[in-house]
């Protein structure tokens, strides 16, 4: 019999150094095969053709300040046009002397968004903060209770786009979740109504719904029963978006393993507790990328309200470029719009990514 030996694990050693360095990165990512090398060179050629003229137009030869006519001889972009029309693009035809009110609402929005994005506030605080913000913003913009009333027909510009999108997202996400739950509830009547609604809405373009809400609905309502146009459009956007969100959430609900529900039931949790504490948090986490995608789509879809006569951010940019004093600057207007849209959408996208990373990594 030999003596029993003690097993000592070999200590870890560092990985080989071949996976670092700039040249290594270039070879791996840009020149890994002859085809990829060709694509890299083509892309470089394209950049060389496009970037210098773009920089020259947007920055080098651009005109930044001045009144009407200052851009007549310029070969670059006329950012003075944007500066002159900034107020209209941001708040539309809102009375200029009251412009501080939507600006204050915007500052509040920035504050609430910052609180939400920072992740430092508790969920309970945030769920209270948003409704308070909406009430405050509505009061600031619309007036009443001590402030001069400003009719809804004078709301416009970026303010209108953000308002429609923010209310749309905050109402249609919960509504979509309810629709998805209803569809899977197993209660015949409820799920039939939910399926009917979802499939009806998904079968119709948003433009049609906005048209129905704005033009056709008043024909069916009694003449003395008036709901304002903006509210009808807002409801149209919410209904449209909630149907899509319902289908996104349903995908997440289906991904929850049955064992999770069994375990929750076995602890004595009632059906609504199983849904609220166990199923929904996991389902929403599963579909967060798609959900953020729907929210971004909703924000961009608000630009369609122009077809029912509401002038949102894009609509105001278009209207501004019709100004006799500033003719011929549509391009600058649209570039500016695109940049603002991109910043907001990219911000939403980044926020979505950070939400995905926050919290537990599941073991599946």
């Amino acid at each position: 019999m030999s003596e029993i030996k003690t097993f000592v694990p070999t200590p870890d050693s560092p990985p080989p150094l071949t996976s670092t360095g700039v040249l290594r990165w270039l070879r791996d990512n840009l020149f890994s095969s002859w085809f990829n090398s060709l694509l890299t060179l083509l892309a470089l050629a394209l950049l060389v053709r496009v970037v210098p003229p773009l920089v020259s137009w947007a920055l080098v030869h651009a005109v930044w300040t001045g009144g009407p006519g200052v851009c007549d001889d310029a070969s670059g972009a006329c950012w003075a046009f944007i500066a002159a029309k900034a107020r209209v693009m941001l708040i539309g035809t809102y009375p200029p002397e009251l412009a501080w009110r939507p600006l204050a609402a915007g500052a509040l929005l920035a504050g609430v968004v910052a609180a939400t994005v920072s992740g430092r506030c508790k969920k309970r605080v945030l769920t209270g903060l948003w409704p308070v913000f909406f009430a405050a913003a509505l009061w600031l913009v619309g007036g009443g209770a001590g402030l001069e009333t400003v009719d809804q027909s004078r709301w416009g510009g970026l303010m209108l786009s953000l308002g429609l999108a923010a209310v749309g997202i905050l109402v249609s996400v919960p509504l979509g979740i309810l629709l998805a739950l209803g569809r899977r509830s197993g209660m015949g009547g409820v799920s039939a109504v939910c399926i009917g609604f979802i499939e009806l809405v998904r079968g119709v373009p948003l433009i049609t719904i906005l048209f129905m809400a704005s033009v056709m609905m008043p024909l069916f309502l009694p003449p003395n029963f008036q709901i304002n146009n903006l509210l009808r459009v807002q409801v149209g956007i919410i209904l449209f978006s909630s149907a899509y969100i319902a289908e996104v959430v349903r995908g997440g609900l289906q991904a929850i393993p049955k064992g999770q529900i069994d375990a929750a039931k076995a602890l004595g949790l009632s059906p609504w507790m199983v849904t609220v504490f166990v199923v929904l948090p996991q389902a929403v986490r599963h579909v967060l990328p798609a959900l953020i995608g729907r929210c971004i789509a909703l924000f961009k879809d608000t630009s369609l309200v122009i077809i029912v006569g509401l002038l949102d951010f894009l609509g105001m940019a278009k209207a501004a470029s019709q100004d006799q004093l500033w003719l011929g600057h549509e391009v600058e207007g649209y570039v500016f719009c695109a940049a603002v849209y991109w910043v907001i959408c990219f911000g939403m996208s980044r926020y979505g990514r950070s939400l995905e990373k926050r919290g537990p990594q599941t073991n599946r």
Binding site: P257, G259, Q260, D262, A263, A264, K265, A266, L267, G268, L269, S270, P271, M273, F277, V278, P281, Q282, R285, G359, P360, Q361, T362, N363, R364
Partner: protein
């Protein structure tokens, strides 16, 4: 200990999945403080039987009475029984989006309406009991299988159940982790917890069980004390099963 009190009473139980007759004429009484092990080949209906005992599965014929309440479609009755009957699953089924501590306090806080602080104190006590208190702030995905299953047992214990059901609690574990889970189960048995375990761990069955039930094709083939069951099986089917799982 009052061994005469029947806490689970199954009478004439029949269940079908569509056309498939999965449980046939099951009669079974579980007494207070009794430890029962159910074994049998896969597909014999043992998991289905134990899942009928807290209504995770519905039966079509017969009656199941737990703690004096019959399991029917009455949701209030079902929830009352589930509060008193803990269950541990093969795949642990911890809630991956909650920390270990949150997993343990969810039901006491929301079902038993226990103040959160008290629920957390209870949870920490049970986590210490399964020797895993230092993991309270982690998420299930950060734990090994054996640790997860011990958390799952602690989660069931936090509801102070009268009865614990185990559905193949060690089948999804690596060999080296089986013992840590079985040790916890043995210590529970020593405290006279009423336990019904579906398991293939014959060593556990031999040392802990008061009664072993052998099932095949949806029926109870035989039931006996561990000594009799292992040394003197009554049916050829039982012999074959034992020879296959004990000698390989």
């Amino acid at each position: 200990m009052d061994m005469s009190q029947v806490v689970i009473d199954v009478k004439g139980l029949n269940k079908w999945y569509g056309e498939f007759h999965v449980l046939k004429n099951i009669d079974l009484e579980v007494h207070k403080g009794e430890r029962i092990v159910i074994c049998g080949p896969s597909g014999s209906g043992k998991s289905t039987l134990i899942r009928c005992m807290n209504r995770l599965e519905r039966h079509q014929e017969g009656t199941i009475t737990v703690d004096g309440t019959e399991l029917t479609n009455n949701l209030k009755g079902i929830e009352k029984i589930r509060r008193e009957v803990g269950m541990v699953f093969q795949n642990f089924n911890l809630f991956p989006h909650m920390t270990v501590l949150e997993n343990l306090t969810l039901a006491p806080v929301w079902v038993r309406r226990m103040p959160r602080r008290e629920a957390e104190a209870t949870a920490m006590r049970y986590l210490e009991r399964v020797r895993i208190a230092e993991q309270a702030g982690k998420y299930p995905g950060q734990l090994s299988g054996g640790q997860q299953q011990r958390v799952a047992i602690a989660r069931a214990l936090c509801m102070s159940p009268n009865i614990l059901l185990f559905d193949e609690p060690t089948s999804a574990l690596d060999p080296e982790m089986i013992k840590e889970v079985l040790d916890v189960m043995v210590s529970l048995a020593e405290e006279d917890m009423t336990m019904v375990c579906v398991t293939h761990e014959m060593g556990f069955a031999r040392t802990v069980a008061d009664r072993i039930i052998f099932m095949d094709h949806g029926e109870i083939v035989e039931q006996n004390s561990p000594e009799e069951f292992f040394s003197n099986p009554q049916y050829d089917r039982t012999k074959l099963f034992l020879s296959q799982i004990l000698h390989h």
